[in-house]
């Protein structure tokens, strides 16, 4: 048979045959490593996986017979065995000759069991690679020795790094096709190292291989005496497993299920995300912040003395404290924070693009909350790694966003804890999983988590209304068109289900400000009060619209300073005095010219035009409707 390694390398047939119990005892102690293979269609990825399965005897004779027949019928390797056919699963794919989804394969060596995520290298399938990488401890990045470091190599490396994979293997494949040439390998190594350090990969292992011929897979190859190792399998058997590294971190258990078989037992079930736990340990339940200690670790096989990261357990607590699904039981002296506003990286996975401001379900560990995403701060081009301005994220788009949740969630930065930092977004209508995300940090100072649950703040109120509060401050001469346009704007907002309130100058003077006249001091107080009322209304989550002449820059700036950045939107209705006076809708200019009105702006009192308004409306070239459209666009666009 072609391509069979000279010696069976993994499974000690002799031991199995002679002393099965000794073999089984040894096999019981194996650990589990998950890795992904990334490469393009032609890098020989499926061939490599087929080779690993074949060499580790995970392929039986009947499968082999089918494989040989298939190889002759549809294989791409002439009369030789096409290992790729072993792993290209779905019928449609076999005809196209490419893999289009994530497939999981299994093989075992003497030291480890392996789960391989076979992820496609085709450009539009960033989604699949991120999916496969999310559970991987290690990534094998395949390079065709004849082609060297390609754009897709950079893409795969960036994604593996993004998802937090600590162990990167650069497998330079098809060495048989370049005459096992050392200089080819070294040239590729050099160019990859330059790129890797650019994106923050400090450590990787490069191995020259031939998946097709079996070189440097299970053992060092005589064809490349210049390579001192390790062979691929040897390396895979040696690297540290991510979950094992999590044992050293503080204890966290996201509660999945409350176990209540009867009134005397109340257990909290979940998989330990990090750390270790034993009876007597002081713990804190988040987000409530209540403290108690571990009473028992309960299992079907009897209570445990201790449990570690990765184990699924049921805990009972010494005191009766409120604790339900979504809560996190954590080490009392090192609890994680809770917050409701975050910066995060998003990988968009749905055909429908992200919609800023729309509410999605966010699932993180066992917590599910409603979340809205703001427009991306930037999108990352996975090929060039450039940061690009973006209004949304399309399928396979990766960007950095700010998001807010309708209630605080217990979290950690993804870099510190994958379980408490990785999340998915779910479309509320279709229930599709539309994005994967990784939290960077919370946007506000951590608060005492004990108080947060009852703390309804302005963001939560605004989120409930599904909008960002704002103050649209119209300024301009009397008769410039402020009230007309402001009214049109509010009508449009109302039609769009936005919660708004129009504070009109004349109306306010009938009530709140009826005690004020038109002296300079009274005019300033008028604006101050209007500013304070507008601020309260934005705290309530409203989009507030004001239409006051507000002739003085300093008053307008005073109101601006009362509000959070970017919420004060100054709209200058720019109508020349001559035009306003020609319209004179209320006959006021006529009165002022006749001396019947004192301190009338533009006549005997100055108007200080805004120098840099957020929006300027020139009413000599625009109808009120066009002006309203423009303002709505700028506000919501």
């Amino acid at each position: 048979m072609p391509n069979t390694p000279d010696t069976p390398v993994y499974v000690t047939d002799a031991l199995i045959a002679e002393d099965i119990d000794a073999y089984l005892a040894q096999h019981q102690q194996k650990s589990l490593l998950r890795f992904i293979t990334c490469g393009s269609v032609d890098d020989g990825k499926s061939t490599l996986i087929g080779r690993l399965l074949y060499d580790s005897k995970m392929i039986f004779e009947d499968q082999l017979a089918a494989l040989e027949a298939d190889s002759k019928r549809v294989g791409t390797q002439g009369q030789e065995i096409d290992f790729a056919l072993l792993v290209d699963g779905l019928a449609a794919e076999r005809e196209q000759g490419i893999t289009i989804d994530v497939a999981y394969r299994f093989f075992t060596t003497e030291k480890r069991k392996f789960i391989v995520a076979d992820t496609p290298g085709h450009e539009q399938y960033t989604r699949n690679m991120v999916t496969g990488a999310s559970t991987a401890d290690l990534a094998v990045i395949l390079i065709d020795a004849r082609k060297g470091v390609l754009t897709q190599t950079r893409r795969h490396s960036f994604l593996a790094h993004l998802i937090g994979i600590k162990h990167i293997v650069l497998a330079v494949n098809k060495m048989d096709l370049v005459g096992y040439d050392k200089t080819v390998f070294e040239r590729i190594l050099l160019s990859y190292r330059a790129f890797a350090s650019e994106i923050g990969i400090t450590n990787f292992t490069a191995i020259p291989i031939s998946g097709f011929k079996g070189d440097n897979i299970t053992a060092l190859s005589d064809n490349m005496p210049w390579f001192k190792g390790p062979a691929l399998i040897e390396h895979l058997e040696g690297v540290e497993i991510a979950a094992a590294a999590d044992e050293a971190k503080p204890f966290r258990l996201p509660v999945q299920w409350v176990n209540r078989p009867n009134l005397d037992f109340r257990g909290f079930s979940g998989q330990i995300a990090s750390g270790t736990v034993k009876p007597g340990d002081a713990i804190r339940v988040l987000p409530s912040g209540k403290t108690t200690s571990i009473a028992r670790i309960v299992t079907l096989d009897g209570d445990l003395d201790a449990a570690v990261a990765g184990q699924s357990v049921t805990l009972t607590l010494a005191d009766e404290v409120d604790c339900s699904r979504g809560d996190v039981i954590a080490a009392a002296d090192a609890p994680p924070e809770a917050a409701d506003q975050f910066e995060a990286t998003l990988v968009w996975m749905a055909d429908e693009a992200m919609i800023a401001g729309r509410a999605y379900w966010l699932k993180l560990a066992t917590q599910t909350v409603s979340a809205t995403i703001q427009q991306p701060k930037y999108e990352i081009n996975v090929n060039t790694l450039d940061h690009l301005a973006a209004k949304t994220l399309e399928l396979n788009g990766i960007g950095v966003v700010e998001l807010s949740t309708d209630k605080p969630i217990v979290f950690e930065a993804y870099a510190d804890n994958r379980t408490l930092g990785g999340f998915i977004l779910i479309d509320k209508l279709t229930n599709a999983t539309v994005a994967a995300g990784m939290l960077h940090f919370s946007l506000r100072r951590a608060q005492n988590v004990h108080w947060q649950a009852s703390d309804v703040d302005r963001d939560m109120r605004a989120n409930l209304k599904n909008q960002r509060p704002a103050l649209l401050w119209f300024t301009g001469l009397s008769g410039s068109g402020k009230s007309t346009i402001a009214n049109l704007v509010e009508k449009q907002l109302h039609r769009m289900n936005r919660h708004s309130f129009l504070l009109d100058g004349d109306n306010v003077r009938h009530g709140l400000n009826r005690d004020l006249g038109f002296t300079e001091a009274d005019r300033i107080e008028n604006i101050r009060r209007v500013g304070e009322v507008a601020k309260l209304m934005t705290d309530a989550g409203l989009i507030v619209i004001t239409a006051f002449i507000s002739p003085f820059r300093v008053e307008r700036d005073m109101v601006r300073s009362m509000l959070p950045d970017s919420e004060f939107i100054e709209i200058f209705i720019d109508t020349p005095l001559a035009e306003a006076e020609r319209r004179d809708v209320k006959g006021l200019y006529k009165k002022a010219r006749a001396g019947q009105l004192k301190n009338f702006t533009g006549i005997d009192s100055p108007y200080e035009a805004p120098e840099t308004p957020e929006i300027r409306i020139d009413t000599t070239v625009m109808t009120p409707e066009e002006a309203a459209d423009l303002i709505i666009d700028r506000l919501l666009g």
Binding site: G89, T131, E240, E247, S312, W361, T433
Partner: protein
């Protein structure tokens, strides 16, 4: 370097996590129980996941009336031992028409198993069904999700499956849709056997070699489990030391000649053997190469 947890520990923890996660969103879950070794492991994991409560869902056996007698015995025993409700469903139409593997070929599997399963799920309104399928069994299953979404008519669309990241499963669904959940997706046949040995899980004795009455037919060794087995002219059941690597309807399940009487010997034989697990099953071969994928689109597990 040493790892605190072995591969079996990690597989067990993952499966338990999956089962508990289902309970968050499921309205009326059920565990499909076929009495085979994979079902035995799945049931054992469910008992561990929810202990000291009994698993909070019933067991559903979609019966064909043609299982091995020893399977029915173990089924009833395990249901009693686990404290779970056992629902046995037999497709009434198949029963009425007397559909059987001898006279009806592929129709037998289609009506009893595929149709029977759909009927049982619809009848009881189960929205989530645990199944014991493993990714290493068959090529199209390697790409199956752990949470597999089915349309209102139980169809499976490979293009519409949701990405599964980390250990986060999205179990939200619209009215009428259902989910098949495969908690032992990442287990291999060897893992199953190792775990049965480690946890001392009861399995049907047919997995161990014993002298059994068999006939050889179409290249398969079939066990004559009861007197419904129609012998062809010239066929006489002969006692052979055989065991089974998979269990299904006895007239459709081929035995292998074996002397393996203990778990260790079974594993030994498995490791040294040269044919794959599903090879003894007839149904995979109906319809050629992509037959399992086709069955799945029709609603078979």
């Amino acid at each position: 370097m040493t790892d605190t947890l072995t591969h079996l520990d990690r597989l067990e923890a993952e499966s338990i996590h999956i089962m508990r996660e289902v309970m968050a969103d499921a309205v009326k879950p059920v565990m499909l129980y076929s009495v085979g070794k994979d079902s035995a492991v799945m049931l054992h994991l469910a008992r561990k996941a929810f202990y000291p409560s009994p698993p909070p869902f019933p067991l559903l056996h979609v019966d064909t009336m043609w299982k091995f007698r020893a399977m029915y015995e173990l089924r009833d025993r395990m249901a009693a031992e686990s404290g779970m409700e056992l629902i046995v469903y037999q497709n009434p139409e198949a029963k009425e028409r007397g559909i059987n593997p001898f006279d009806h070929g592929p129709l037998h599997t289609d009506m009893w198993k595929t149709e029977g399963l759909k009927q049982a799920l619809d009848l009881h309104g189960f929205d989530v069904a645990f199944g014991g399928a493993r990714r290493d069994e068959e090529k199209s299953r390697a790409k199956e999700r752990i949470f597999s979404f089915r349309s209102g008519t139980h169809g499976w669309d490979p293009k519409k499956q949701r990405p599964e990241l980390w250990n986060l499963y999205n179990a939200r669904k619209a009215k009428g849709e259902s989910i098949r959940v495969f908690p032992i997706s990442n287990w291999t046949e060897l893992d199953i056997w190792q775990y049965i040995a480690r946890e001392i899980i009861p399995i049907v004795p047919l997995y161990f070699a014993a002298p059994r009455p068999t006939v050889e037919r179409d290249g398969l060794l079939l066990m004559v489990d009861d007197d419904r087995f129609p012998l062809l002219p010239g066929e006489t059941p002969a006692l052979r030391s055989v065991r089974f690597r998979t269990l299904g309807c006895y007239p459709l399940t081929g035995a292998v000649e074996s002397e393996a009487k203990t778990l260790s010997e079974v594993i030994q034989e498995m490791l040294l053997t040269t044919t794959s697990e599903r090879q003894g099953r007839i149904i995979d071969k109906d319809g050629g190469d992509a037959s399992m994928e086709k069955k799945k689109q029709e609603g078979y597990f």
